[in-house]
Symmetry: C2
Subunit: 135 residues, 2 copies
Amino acid sequence: MTAQKNAGGQGPGETEEEACREVLQILALIGDKWSILVIGQLRDRTLRFGELHRAVTGISQRMLTLTLRQLERDGLVTRTVHACVPPRVEYALTELGTTLLDSVVAFGQWAATHRKEICDNRRRYDAAHPPRKRP
Amino acid sequence: MTAQKNAGGQGPGETEEEACREVLQILALIGDKWSILVIGQLRDRTLRFGELHRAVTGISQRMLTLTLRQLERDGLVTRTVHACVPPRVEYALTELGTTLLDSVVAFGQWAATHRKEICDNRRRYDAAHPPRKRP
DNA sequence: CAGCATCCCGACAGATACTG
DNA sequence: CAGTATCTGTCGGGATGCTG
């Protein structure tokens, strides 16, 4: 099925290399510590900056801003400024953002399913490979 | 569906917080630039260290070693040393590793499908938000 | 061949202070 | 309230050199 293979396929002068890089770049998005957490918070309702800041425990103001900017840039969230005082800025998931979240959750299923197994593997490995002795 | 919710669920004294952290940690695994590339190379055959080094373009010896150690620790790949000279070390995907790859590929579908859309969004955003003027 | 040890640099996260 | 600006420390990761 070439149509399948070419879903989101390369453009005319585009190499597979380039496409691969882009995909990796997108994968990195979900590896990002904060992105998924922020998106997760926006799952079922729009939130204000401060609400997000409180909801995502541990994130700094700076990181929240940067993360939101990136998500906005990618078209995963919308940023709506209400012209009033005090300022009121609301963030919401776009449809694209929702589909991303769904996919990530699907992958999260894998992680949840194999979490224990992986942790066990780690413990076993660490037991078998003790931290260097210094005689 | 509580059974669903508890797939890979928490142990006795384990908080949801901790479980969440672990899942995030696993998600970070695939955000890692090299992990997926290495795993991808091992998709259909076992490879030697040098072969991997050549196959994964751009990776440094150091990063390849570290990546492989992490994957081995997590039980995603096996490391087999053949006692001969010159040394011969072979890496292969475990079953767990295979299921991970499958899941990642599934997510990769999402990325491939929306790649263009995201890139367009970025271009549009960058056009609308020119890099700061300094008067 | 496979891989560990060391040095080193740039990127990036956190804290803090200031502004529309 | 919702940011921006700046400084600073850390840390990932590349290059290099040495071993089993």
